[in-house]
């Protein structure tokens, strides 16, 4: 066998490997899609068909008229959006202080925040339960559960946001700060007019990761919306979808719902993929 043939065979094997990886990654979505498009009869028929014999959009229609599910989507947008916004606002201040200002107690603060990024959420569950109960007991305050969820979600989005923004602020040249100081700008003016515009890319990246984290969160959402179906976010709403029709598992509708809520995420990923990869790998790779 000469070199040329060996190279071609190598190429063929390489593309077969790539094809296998692609199928592995995509197949569950394909299965969800054909299941959502099948009629109820075909869905429960054995053996399963790998392509629907008859395509129906009834499942998608049913999902789009399911108020619990639509409410879940709205709730998720409110909660994930607000959590991201607040985390960025509060976290940018903290990141600036930790990344650019000199003060006593900086290192311990930084390490506490790093430790909190690795915090298992379940470790504080019963304690949070107490805190939430105490806030809810203040009757005149009447805090809606969605607001409480936003507050709770900061426990995992905020430390992460602060950590990433701190390292970003630290990377900005000191000369910028000094120049501003010479011109008589206060620390806040320096922050607002000079540093914040420069950090916009980092804000987008961390914001995206915070949004996805909050959008996907299940443990707190499940635990704290137990008594309140109206406040359920998408992950909880979809996991409870089955319980609503006791007679039969609504698999087709479940798969349709699964695809519908995956679309916004895939869109985000498509638009911002490079930023997301940068954000994910920022901590792991020492360049």
């Amino acid at each position: 066998m000469n070199k040329q043939t060996r190279k071609i065979i190598g190429e063929i094997f390489f593309y077969i490997l790539i094809a296998i990886i692609a199928i592995y990654l995509i197949f569950p979505f394909y299965w969800a899609l054909i299941s959502a498009l099948k009629t109820e009869g075909e869905l429960i028929a054995a053996p399963a068909t790998f392509f629907p014999k008859e395509i129906t959009f009834r499942n998608f229609q049913a999902v789009f008229t399911n108020t619990a599910f639509l409410r879940g989507i709205l709730n998720s947008f409110i909660v994930a959006g607000s959590t991201t916004l607040f985390s960025l606002m509060v976290g940018a201040f903290a990141g600036y202080a930790l990344g650019k200002l000199r003060f006593r107690g900086r290192t311990p603060t930084l390490y506490t925040i790093l430790a909190m990024t690795m915090f298992p959420a379940v470790a504080i569950l019963s304690g949070l339960f107490q805190v939430i109960k105490a806030i809810q007991d203040i009757a005149w305050l009447n805090v809606p559960t969605l607001v409480l969820l936003i507050l709770i979600y900061m426990v995992f989005t905020l430390p992460f946001t602060i950590w990433v923004l701190t390292s970003f602020f630290r990377g900005l040249p000191d000369s910028l700060l000094q120049a501003a100081q010479v011109d008589g700008a206060t620390f806040l003016q320096t922050f607002w007019y000079i540093l914040l515009p420069l950090t916009a890319p980092a804000l987008v990246t961390t914001g995206l990761l915070a949004f996805i984290g909050a959008w996907n969160e299940y443990l707190f959402a499940l635990t704290f919306t137990l008594q309140e179906p109206g406040s359920r976010t998408v992950p909880v709403a979809i996991s409870q979808l089955g319980g609503r029709f006791a007679m039969q598992e609504p698999t087709g509708e479940l798969m349709a719902a699964a695809l519908i809520i995956t679309v916004p995420l895939i869109t985000l990923v498509l638009i911002f993929q490079n930023r997301i990869v940068d954000g994910l790998t920022a901590g792991a790779v020492k360049g």
Binding site: L25, V122, S126, T281
Partner: protein, 359 residues
């Protein structure tokens, strides 16, 4: 003269430093307040609750009970199971196997009632591990097995994907995008899709596929049969997280200088040699960090177990959540949380030590 001009300047500087320090704490204040309220204070509460018998929605007064919750969760014992004898005093044999007495006969009932967590054979004898809270002991064991196997497989598959994608080829950017999708999708949703694929008759994908290949009877109960539960749930987790691992490793591969490979080629090294002498050692730091992240993540697995198994089989996190929400036993749930916290901490330390990861 020289002294008098220096003194006010020094004071001015320290004024500036003090002002900087004040600004810093003001900027940190909102974050620290929030993190204290929803992170540190609840954690302290958990430690406190774990020493009480507090239940919510109950009229029973809360009392300090010391380490009783921990004793209930962690008490274990090993007993030998006696061989089952018939009336003639001969061992009962069914299907060619010796039959053993039930664990009910050998495990202690007083002062604490033990239930069987595991049974195992050792040198021809049969033993039972009893635990006061068998569900919790099983959840700890299952979570650790899940973590070790899933993380090992993810690393292996992630490495294969990363190596394949490190080469330039047609459609590479599309593949890189496709890799983000399993990571970004809601875990609850991917769990639901896989749960449907694992359906217990031939209307499910795996049963239909295995039936066509002639394996099994087409009615394999992947998610109910205890022997198949763990492999199934690990398969789901690997699908969701191997691409994430691949992305991290891909970024690590990109930092390896090309000249090293060129130099190795000049020296006549083949592909395998290059992989073990250059790629793997230089990828190790990235892999170590990825391993730490993934291990800590897997140890606190909640969504996947909650959706797929519900209350049929627990991870440590679903056990703690179930104890809190359904059993309304805050004290016991808090104690379980503390144990989870400690296990994670131990794993983190072991990793940092053995892989020499510096923070």
């Amino acid at each position: 003269m020289a002294v008098s001009t220096k003194a006010p300047k020094a004071r001015q500087l320290s004024d500036l430093a003090r002002q900087e320090e004040r600004t810093a704490w003001w900027l940190l204040f909102p974050s620290l307040l929030l993190l204290f309220l929803i992170g540190i204070y609840p954690l302290a509460q958990v430690f406190y609750l774990s020493t009480t018998n507090k239940r919510f929605a109950s009229s029973q007064p809360t009392e300090f009970i010391g380490f009783a919750n921990y004793r209930d969760l962690l008490s274990m014992t090993v007993r030998e199971l006696p061989v089952q004898l018939d009336e003639a005093g001969q061992p009962v044999i069914e299907d060619g196997k010796k039959q053993y007495e039930s664990w009910v006969r050998v495990l202690p009932r007083e002062p604490l009632r033990y239930r069987a967590a595991f049974e195992f054979g050792f040198f021809g004898k049969r033993y039972v591990i009893g635990a006061v809270n068998a569900d919790f002991i099983k959840s700890v064991w299952d979570t650790i097995v899940f973590t070790v196997v899933a993380v090992a497989l993810e690393t292996l598959i992630g490495l294969i994907i990363a190596l394949a994608l490190s080469r330039k080829f047609f459609g590479r950017s599309v593949m890189r995008t496709a890799m983000l999708v399993p990571w970004a999708i809601i875990t609850v949703v991917s769990s639901l899709i896989w749960e449907w694929m694992f359906k217990s008759n031939r209307s499910g994908f795996f049963n239909a596929l295995f039936d066509r290949l002639g394996w099994g009877d087409g009615n394999t109960v992947f998610l109910v049969n205890p022997a198949l539960q763990m492999p199934s749930i690990i398969a789901i987790d690997v699908w969701k997280t191997a691409p994430f691992m691949a992305l991290l490793l891909l970024a690590g591969l990109a930092t390896i200088p090309r000249e090293l490979y060129e130099a190795a080629e000049v020296d006549g090294a083949n592909k395998i040699r290059k992989f073990f002498s250059i790629t793997l050692p230089l990828l190790l730091p990235t892999m170590a960090v990825a391993l730490v992240f993934r291990t800590l993540d897997s140890l606190r697995v909640f969504d996947l177990f909650q959706v797929v198994f519900g209350e049929r089989r627990y991870s440590m996190a679903t056990f703690a959540q179930f104890t809190l929400v359904s059993n309304k036993d805050m004290g016991l749930s808090a104690a379980a949380s503390v144990i989870i916290f400690i296990i994670l901490f131990i794993f983190a330390i072991i990793y940092m030590r053995s892989l020499k990861v510096d923070a």
